[in-house]
Structure formats: structure tokens, C-alpha cells
């Protein structure tokens, strides 16, 4: 791979132009309804220049100052998940003939080459896990696959972790190490650009980058290292599997059940959670029917419903499923924890339940 | 000896009216002894529920008075409350409220014309029957109704009990793209709306001139909707805050609706009253379309209400087009409110006519008292007067079925909304 180059801030629009010329629609961070979300960028002016976030358990607020930086914030309410694993989509449709015959029609999403700018290290780690889940088993998911194949990822190393972040503890950030096409380190005066894939390399070549001053690299590295240092939260260990399953009857589960709303916000914002329900929506006249899927969660009743029985009827069992899966049985399934330390489930939990705190309380002293 | 036949007719459930009502008719010696439009929507006591609630809750609560015209209730309420807070809606809010309200007129009027009234004039029991013989007309009507709903949804998320309105403006401003898409639909619907005016006028409407007083809002430059002074064909011209000095509500034993009267007499509110009093405020194409019908407005024929509704649909579409021209979303879709105590009045033109509210708020913005006068109770005395006349003209010797049909047609023509009356209607004829 080529040595990193420097993209002066005024030339950032060249990156958008190059991506657009290469046929991508460009998604990037934008302020909408009081949060930073990934949406289609019309120009570099759409970026959240000088916008900073304050995140606390159950609270998220934005603030502006006159900083020139556009990526001086920690992740917003959603990672890449909704772009690939759609919150709701039709999987196939069926139609009934007058003789009762049924015809099935696959429904593939439109293959829209999409570039996402501003992706964080934790989100890349989560993407890797979702790829494993949806694509690497015996039955690759074509809906996810089509979107994944059309994705171009421009990562930005994290320099402004929120109070809820703990990617350093899970080993997934704040530096984006791999899984991107291009990576950016933001400095006041511009960006250090690194290519991370053959696709990225091609684009890198079109950017007419300037040579990098080693001092700039040092500043960037220093900021990233400081970002790791600044993180306040940690998980007791990277592998809590045995410890969690040894504590299935810990009183803390009852305690958290008093506070938890069983609202599924945490699993919905979690970039690795993959649960979904399949549903059917027939036309009124019965002539055709849509079979769709939508995000589900282990916090719903439907998640564990089997003919008349709900396996996890109460919140204690639901919260326990979430934590034991996320931090425990994920190891059995994908060889690592399902938590990438993005902190979203802490900030976006309406009552501010903190996964790191709960894990520590349940696992007590008995983790490695 | 039909003349001396004694009649006792009861229509226990009136079809194709909103809410439920009944009509009792007692005829004795060829004369109507009793004629009662019984509204038995059980009293829902909204005015009491509102007491002790915060001002922000009011728009969501009053919407629940009527599923067919929730926007009207919300608009009268926010007007009254903003009046107390000294909050004048900015031009964007004012314009978008009109668009929102137009959606309701279009929806409600199309529903009434096609689903409730037109089957009468064409001799069908329901729109489904009518659709078999007049598929295109019905389809056009349903499409207009759907478009009205769509306009409400753009500002309120749903057309029944929309969630977008608030004191100070709206919770959310639609995006430019959404507005552009809507504009396209509105443009496409215009020719159909214009044709609807001619179509309603071509129906075999009874020729039935009568004497009545029209009451409506009047605005210096707009066809009245979300503000104005209260005027009447009898020369009344008052600010809305003077309503209680001229209009009196009283109770009748058979009805949970309160009857309103103007200087002791029945009066008419609603599309025909509005049109009669505001012809000069209509958009030119609507005036022209009305001109081509050959009907002379102001009209004294109550059955021209259906034509007035069609004209208002046409007008509302043109109004939406005008208001959404060069649309852009504002910084904030609402102005923040600072509560203070006081009494405020709100009066807007619901699809069925004048909808008057009064609120007393305390310093924290909580409701101390509320009073709501819906259009249907204002029309109730007028409907009974019309019925009496109309049945006598038809001939009381006619069989019960004919009387019932005539009675229902007359009532339906007013588009009474019995839920609104916060009360309702069934016909019961007794002949002795």
C-alpha cells in the first residue's frame, strides 16, 4: 500500500467528487433532530463542522463551537448496521393464482454503490461481526450481501471519545486498523489519508495528495492515543463467557430488571445485534402477500414465543439473555465478544443502564 | 283519508351521518306535533377533562372530540391559547396551518359528498352500490379524500388525531422534497376538483328555497378558515371574543347536544353559509366554475350545500398550491411559548362550520375552564326547522319510508357530525 498522504481541508470536497465520479452516493455525518446521523451528503458543507457531542447514560446532546473540525465527535445513534441489515425489508413476495397455485418472487434490494464517510473503528469491528453472521455461514444472506458488496468505507480515526465509549477496553478502537477502503486522521488543517484496500488505493491515487509532514503524523497519533487514554469505562475482561454463565442466578439480574424498560433500544442501536423477525403482510383481497423481516430483539415477547409459551416472559430473563449473549455466548458463535465498546447501548438507553456496570456487578470478582 | 292518518315514525339509527342520532316524529291530525332530532351520543364531558391539564396537552385532547375534524379542534384551541400567551404565529406557521386545515376540508368534504350525500341523490344505499354504476366518479372522490388525508399526514403523521400541531406552530416541518411531491399530487387533482363542482351541480338536487340566517367567519383577504370576525347574513359583525354576547346555548330534553341560537333564532353554519358570505374571497377559477353551474350564489336552497362543499374542495386545492409555492423549511417549526394566565378565544371554520373555543388558563398554563361550541350544535335548531318544513312540503300523508328517506336526506345534507356535537341521532315517527 502507498504511504499515507495529506489532504488539505479545502480540498476535502475532492474526496466527495472522486467518490461521486466513481459512481458512489456519498453518505456522511449530518446533524438531524439533535444527533449526528449518516445521511446523503450534497456537499462538504453538510458536514457537522465544529459540532461536539456530550454523551452520558441515557443522554445525548450536541454543542457547536468554531473548531474547523468536522469529525470531532464520537459515534451517533446508529452505526453502519441499518445500511446493510435494513430495519425492515421485504424478503420475497408470493402470489396466488385462481387455481390456488402459489408463485414466489424474490425481492432483491437495489445495488446502490454507497460510500460512507466518517466510519469509526468500533463500527468497523461491528461490521466484521455482522459480515461473519450474515455472510460467512452456510447460507449467505443475499440481501445483506448485495449491499455489502457495494460499500466503500472511509474511516476516521477517533479523537473525541464520549464518556460512554470503551472501545479501548474491547480492543476495537479508537484507531481504525483494518476493514476500511480509506482511513482519515483529522487535523485542524486537513486529513492524513491512508488506503486500506485495492479499491481504496485506486481512489487514493486520484486525490492528488500532498506529502505528509512527520509532525502531522505525530500529532494525529498523539490525539488517537489520548483518545484511548481518555476513556472512562471498561469491561472487566474481553471474555466474560464463563463468568456470566456461572452467575445465571446472581441477584443483580433482579436488580437490573427493576430498572430496565425492556424497550429494545439497546439492541437496536447495538451495531452487532442481528436478531430479526419474519412477518407476513397479505393484500386485502388475498391476491398477493409480502414476506418481510424487521429488526427484533431479545427484549420483545415475540423473540422467545413458541406456541403458547414465552421462554423469556419477564425482564430479568430478557436482560440476562442480552448480556449473556452479547458478552458470553458470542464467543461460542463468532470467537469473540459481541461488544465493540461503542457505548451506544449506554447513551441510548432511556434509563441509562450501563452494560459495563452491569457486567462488572454480575461477574463480580470472578473473572479472569 | 290519508289527511287524518296518525303517524308515528321513528328512525332509530340514521344512516350515513357521522356519529349516531335518531329522529322522532309525531304527527297528529295531519300536523307535526313533535319533531325531535335526538342526539344520543353520550356526553363525553371534554370540557371537564380539560380542567387541570397543561396547555400542551390541549391540542391532543380536543382532537379526540371528533375523528373527522380533529384539525379544526386543534386549530381553534391553539389560536385561543396563543392569544393568552400573546404569541402571534409567524407567517410560515400561519401559512402551513392553512395548508393543514385545507387537507381536512378536502378530506371531510369529499367523504361527505361521495360516501354520505351523493348516494341520496342517485338512489343508492351506499357508496359501494354507487361505485358499481359510477366507478369513475367514486374513484375521483376517493382520490380527493385520500389527497386530503395525505396533506394532513404531511403535517401530522396521520389524518385522524394528527400529532404534528402544537401551541406555537408544528412539531416538525416537512422537507422540501416532501412538499414538492405533494404539490405534484395537488396539481394533478385540480381538474378533478373543478369537474366535481359541475358534477355536484348536475345532480338532481331538490329545489327548496328557504329563509335562513347564515353565520361564518370573514377575513379581510382570505376565504375564511383559521381566523376572522364572525359575520351573519343579518348584518352581525363581531370579534370572536363577543360570541357569547350574541349566541346562546340551551338544552332540550331529548338531546345531549346543546342548541345554539343567535338572538333567539336558529341559524346556519357550514359550507353554504361560508360560501354565501364569502363569495368574493374565492379563488377566481372557483368563482368561474360556480358561475358555469348556473346556480346563483348566495343560494337559499339548502341542498346547494353539496355544491358549496365541492367549491370549497376546489378552493382548498388552489389555496394549497398557492401556499406551498416556493416552500422552504424554517429554522424552527414553532415559536416557544411562555405560559401566563388569562382568557383566550379561538374560532375557526371547521368543515361543518364555526367552531368556537374559550379557555381560561392559570399562570402555569393549566386549564381552569374550557368551553367548546361545535358546529353541529349550532346547526341543530336549524335542522329541526328545516325538517319540519320539508316534511310538510313533501306531504305528511306519504308512507313512513318516504318520510324517513326525506328526513334523512335533509339531515344528511347538513353533514351533522354527531360526535362533534359531543353527543348524537335515530328516526322515530309516531302517528296517532
Amino acid at each position: 500500500m502507498a504511504e499515507p498522504g495529506f489532504l488539505p481541508r479545502p480540498r476535502f470536497r475532492h474526496l466527495l467528487a472522486a467518490l461521486t465520479a466513481a459512481g458512489y452516493r456519498c453518505l456522511g455525518p449530518k446533524v438531524r433532530d439533535g444527533a449526528i446521523v449518516y445521511e446523503e451528503l450534497d456537499s462538504a458543507d453538510d458536514l457537522p463542522r465544529g459540532v461536539h457531542d456530550h454523551q452520558q447514560p441515557g443522554a445525548y446532546r450536541l454543542q457547536r463551537d468554531d473548531s474547523p473540525r468536522c469529525f470531532a465527535w464520537a459515534n451517533g445513534p446508529q452505526a453502519l448496521k441499518p445500511l446493510l441489515f435494513a430495519p425492515r425489508e421485504i424478503l420475497w413476495t408470493s402470489a396466488a393464482g385462481s387455481d390456488g397455485a402459489i408463485a414466489f418472487h424474490p425481492q432483491m434490494p437495489e445495488a446502490l454503490p454507497t460510500a460512507v464517510i466518517g466510519v469509526r473503528a468500533c463500527d468497523l469491528a461491528a461490521l466484521r461481526l455482522q459480515d461473519q453472521h450474515f455472510l460467512e455461514g452456510p447460507f449467505p444472506d443475499p440481501h445483506y450481501g448485495v449491499r455489502r458488496g457495494n460499500l466503500f468505507l472511509v474511516a476516521v480515526h477517533c479523537t473525541h471519545p464520549a464518556a460512554t465509549c470503551f472501545c479501548a477496553s474491547t480492543g476495537d478502537g479508537p484507531r481504525a486498523e483494518s476493514g476500511f477502503d480509506l482511513a482519515l486522521a483529522e487535523l485542524d488543517e486537513g486529513f492524513i489519508v491512508t488506503a486500506g484496500s485495492p479499491k481504496g488505493e485506486v481512489l487514493f491515487g486520484q486525490l492528488l495528495l500532498e506529502a505528509l509532514d512527520p509532525a502531522q503524523q505525530a500529532t494525529a497519533d498523539g490525539e488517537i492515543a489520548a483518545a484511548a487514554q481518555a476513556q472512562q469505562r471498561t469491561l472487566p475482561s474481553r471474555n466474560l463467557r464463563d463468568s456470566l454463565f456461572a452467575n445465571l442466578h446472581h441477584p443483580r439480574w433482579d436488580d437490573v430488571a427493576q430498572r430496565c424498560l425492556s424497550c429494545a433500544n439497546c439492541s437496536s442501536v447495538c451495531p452487532t445485534c442481528f436478531c430479526h423477525a419474519e412477518m407476513e403482510e397479505p393484500a386485502l383481497d388475498g391476491s398477493h402477500s409480502a414476506h418481510y423481516r424487521q429488526w427484533d430483539s431479545c427484549f420483545t415477547e415475540g423473540h422467545s414465543y413458541i406456541h403458547g409459551i414465552v421462554i423469556r416472559a419477564d425482564t430479568r430473563l430478557r436482560y440476562r439473555q442480552w448480556l449473556t449473549h452479547k458478552l458470553g455466548s458470542w464467543h461460542d458463535q463468532y470467537g469473540r465478544s459481541g461488544c465493540v465498546g461503542c457505548g451506544r447501548c449506554i447513551a441510548w438507553c432511556p434509563v441509562g443502564i450501563d452494560i459495563t456496570e452491569e457486567a462488572a456487578a454480575v461477574c463480580g470478582g470472578d473473572h479472569a | 283519508m290519508t289527511q287524518s292518518r296518525e303517524i308515528s315514525l321513528s328512525v332509530p339509527v340514521l344512516a350515513r351521518v357521522e356519529g349516531e342520532g335518531a329522529l322522532d316524529l309525531e304527527v297528529h291530525g295531519g300536523h307535526i306535533e313533535t319533531l325531535r332530532l335526538r342526539i344520543f351520543e353520550p356526553p363525553r364531558l371534554f370540557e371537564k377533562f380539560l380542567e387541570g391539564r397543561e396547555y400542551q396537552e390541549v391540542p391532543d385532547m380536543v382532537a379526540r372530540i371528533c375523528g373527522i375534524c380533529p384539525v379544526a379542534y386543534q386549530m381553534s384551541a391553539v389560536q385561543a391559547i396563543e392569544g393568552i400567551f400573546g404569541l402571534a404565529p409567524d407567517p410560515w406557521v400561519r401559512a402551513m396551518r392553512r395548508v393543514f386545515y385545507c387537507g381536512e376540508w378536502i378530506q371531510s368534504h369529499s367523504l361527505h359528498i361521495h360516501l354520505l350525500a351523493a348516494p341520496d341523490f342517485l338512489g343508492y344505499g351506499s357508496v359501494a352500490e354507487m361505485a358499481r354504476a359510477h366507478p369513475d366518479t367514486v374513484r375521483r372522490g376517493l382520490a380527493l379524500q385520500a389527497l386530503g388525508n395525505e396533506i394532513i399526514r404531511l403535517f401530522g403523521g396521520r389524518s385522524v388525531h394528527p400529532v404534528g400541531a402544537r401551541v406555537g406552530g408544528f412539531h416538525r416541518a416537512p422537507s422540501r422534497a416532501e412538499v414538492a411531491a405533494l404539490q405534484e399530487q395537488v396539481g394533478a387533482a385540480l381538474p378533478g376538483a373543478e369537474a366535481l363542482v359541475a358534477w355536484t351541480a348536475s345532480l338532481n338536487l331538490p329545489n327548496d328555497a328557504q329563509d335562513f340566517v347564515s353565520v361564518a367567519l370573514r377575513h379581510p383577504d382570505e376565504y375564511p378558515m383559521n381566523e376572522g370576525r364572525i359575520v351573519s347574513s343579518g348584518g352581525l359583525d363581531i370579534p370572536i371574543s363577543d360570541y357569547e354576547a350574541h349566541f346562546v346555548e340551551h338544552q332540550e330534553p331529548h338531546s345531549t347536544a346543546l342548541y345554539a341560537s343567535l338572538e333567539g333564532r336558529p341559524y346556519l353554519v357550514g359550507p353554504l353559509a361560508r360560501l354565501n358570505l364569502n363569495l368574493d374571497r374565492l379563488h377566481t377559477p372557483v368563482r368561474e366554475a360556480l358561475g358555469r353551474t348556473g346556480i346563483a350564489f348566495p343560494s337559499r336552497n339548502m341542498f346547494h350545500s353539496i355544491v358549496a362543499r365541492a367549491a370549497e374542495i376546489h378552493h382548498a386545492l388552489l389555496e394549497v398550491t398557492r401556499l406551498l409555492e416556493d416552500y422552504s423549511a424554517p429554522e424552527a417549526p414553532f415559536a416557544p411559548a411562555t405560559p401566563r394566565s388569562g382568557t383566550g378565544h379561538g374560532c375557526t371554520e371547521a368543515p361543518r362550520g364555526l367552531l368556537w373555543h374559550r379557555y381560561d388558563l392559570d399562570a402555569a398554563g393549566q386549564v381552569r375552564h374550557a368551553r367548546i361550541v361545535p358546529p353541529t350544535s349550532q346547526n341543530q335548531a336549524r335542522i329541526e326547522a328545516d325538517l319540519r318544513r320539508s316534511l310538510e312540503t313533501l306531504g305528511l300523508e306519504r308512507d313512513d319510508e318516504a318520510l324517513r328517506q326525506q328526513a334523512e336526506m335533509v339531515i344528511r345534507n347538513y353533514d351533522p357530525c354527531i360526535s362533534c356535537a359531543t353527543h348524537f341521532l335515530t328516526v322515530r315517527v309516531g302517528r296517532r
Binding site: R88, L261, C263, T300 | E20, G67, A131
Partner: protein
């Protein structure tokens, strides 16, 4: 042998008519429905035959007069499937607020001659009077759910009901959480999905018009609302609103009303 069309009725009790509009606003689907089933009673749409036996009876509105009580019993007898539509029929509606207060006193204050008004002191859900086969929540119900129920019954199967909370629906729509990002007292975490998370998508707090969801933790949400700065009375009002008669909300409302009058030390 062509099977006889299913017979359908729509009945109304004390309500705003908004749920019936779920039918009247169907557009072309209304005509389609009229072809699929025989609509034998639906006063607002035309057919009037309230006593006819039917396969499916939709019931809007709450019970608030002695005549209502009798009528709903008759409807139950005449109907194979009795489905309530909306907050009024399912939980008593906004007007159930009178159950908490002085109904007759209120009538006296509004009507000069309260004796003319024959009304019960309460507004109660249909299920308080007769067995109900299916409850569709919402103020108003949405047409999609109503049609879904009809379609399922025509297929000969039990309709599927939405069970998730508004929060999950809100996330599926990728709305930004108004509680977390704006500190608004949103009821989404205890409210049944079905509206499409309209309020949060409009930037405002959900006011629970779809009623309580399964497994609602009203106590935890109440505490959170208080933490956002609501006084106990205001927390109580959040629960005692459109679905004040739903047991989970009624209980939470009572609790916070007590807190307001008798705050714990």
C-alpha cells in the same frame, strides 16, 4: 359451491368516530372490502341492520349508558368474532377520565338540566361487559391493522397482533430518540407499537395513544420522567391520558397522584 361471503358489522358506542374512519379512509380498499365481505351494518357507510347476525363485528367506542350495556350484550350474541377497535372500546377512551372523577357532578356543571342526561357514571371498555375476541389498540387504530385482521379471518386464521414497544418501531424508522436527545417525557418505552412511532418521528414525545405494551415497566419509566424534571402530578398525567383506563396506566397514574399529594419523605 361458492362459500357464502363473510358478514361484517361496524358498531359504534361512545367515541369520536375516528376509528371507523380507518374503514372510510381506505379508499379503493373500501370498495374491495365491500366486494369481499357483506357489510350488513355500518351506519356511517350506509347499511343499517344492527341486530343482524354476523361473522365479524368491529366495535368502536366505550360503554357509558344503560342502553349501551344492553346493546353490547346483543351484539355479542349476534357475532362470531367481536373485535374492539381503538382506545375507547379497548380501554374506555379519554372519556374514562370521568371514572376517576365525579361524572354526575361534571354533567351537572355542563348541562343546565342534568336530569335529561341518561348516562352511567363511568365509561368502560367493551371487555368489561362481554368477552372480546380481539383487541386492536390505538387512538385511532390504523387501517393496516384493521384490514390485516379482516384478511386473517378470511384466511381462517387468528389475526396477528403487533406486540413490540413504540421504541423498537422508532428505531426501525431510525428516528432520533427524543427522550435521550431532547429530554422529552416520551411514553414510547411502555407503549404498544402500531402507529409507526409517529410522535418521535415528528420530534415529539409519544403520549401513549396505543396503550400499554406487554411487560411495561411503568414504575421505571415514571421515575425516569421525574428525573427529567416532571413533578409527580405531571408524571401521573402522562399515564392518565388517552388510555387512562388501561390497568397498567391507571395504576401508575394513581401511584404518582399519591406521590403528588403525599410525597415520601
Amino acid at each position: 359451491m361458492a362459500a357464502a361471503k363473510a358478514r361484517l358489522a361496524v358498531h359504534k358506542f361512545s367515541s369520536c368516530d375516528g376509528c371507523q374512519l380507518a374503514f372510510l379512509n381506505l379508499g379503493e380498499d373500501l370498495l374491495r372490502l365491500a366486494e369481499l365481505v357483506e357489510i350488513v351494518h355500518f351506519a356511517e357507510a350506509g347499511p343499517v341492520d344492527p341486530e343482524a347476525p354476523v361473522d365479524i363485528a368491529f366495535v368502536e367506542g366505550s360503554i357509558s349508558t344503560p342502553e349501551d350495556e344492553e346493546r353490547i350484550r346483543q351484539i355479542r350474541k349476534n357475532s362470531r368474532w367481536l373485535i374492539t377497535i381503538g382506545a375507547c372500546a379497548t380501554a374506555g377512551g379519554l372519556q374514562a377520565l370521568r371514572n376517576l372523577a365525579d361524572g354526575p357532578g361534571w354533567i351537572a356543571e355542563i348541562y343546565a338540566q342534568p336530569g335529561y342526561i341518561h348516562s352511567l357514571a363511568t365509561s368502560t371498555p367493551i371487555a368489561a361487559h362481554v368477552p372480546v375476541d380481539l383487541e386492536l389498540w390505538g387512538c385511532p387504530v390504523n387501517g393496516r391493522q384493521v384490514l390485516g385482521a379482516v384478511r386473517a379471518l378470511l384466511f381462517g386464521v387468528v389475526p396477528a397482533l403487533e406486540q413490540d414497544k413504540v421504541c423498537l418501531e422508532c428505531k426501525r424508522h431510525q428516528a432520533v430518540c427524543v427522550l435521550v436527545a431532547k429530554g422529552l417525557p416520551c411514553m414510547g418505552p411502555v407503549t404498544l407499537a402500531g402507529c409507526g412511532a409517529l410522535c418521535p418521528r415528528f420530534g415529539r414525545d409519544c403520549y401513549a395513544c396505543y396503550g400499554p405494551a406487554e411487560n411495561p415497566n411503568a414504575a421505571a419509566l415514571g421515575r425516569r420522567l421525574e428525573g427529567l424534571g416532571l413533578v409527580p402530578e405531571a408524571v401521573a398525567r402522562r399515564f392518565l391520558f388517552i388510555n387512562n383506563g388501561a390497568p397498567d396506566f391507571a395504576e401508575a397514574g394513581r401511584h404518582w397522584q399519591e406521590q403528588a399529594h403525599d410525597p415520601e419523605p
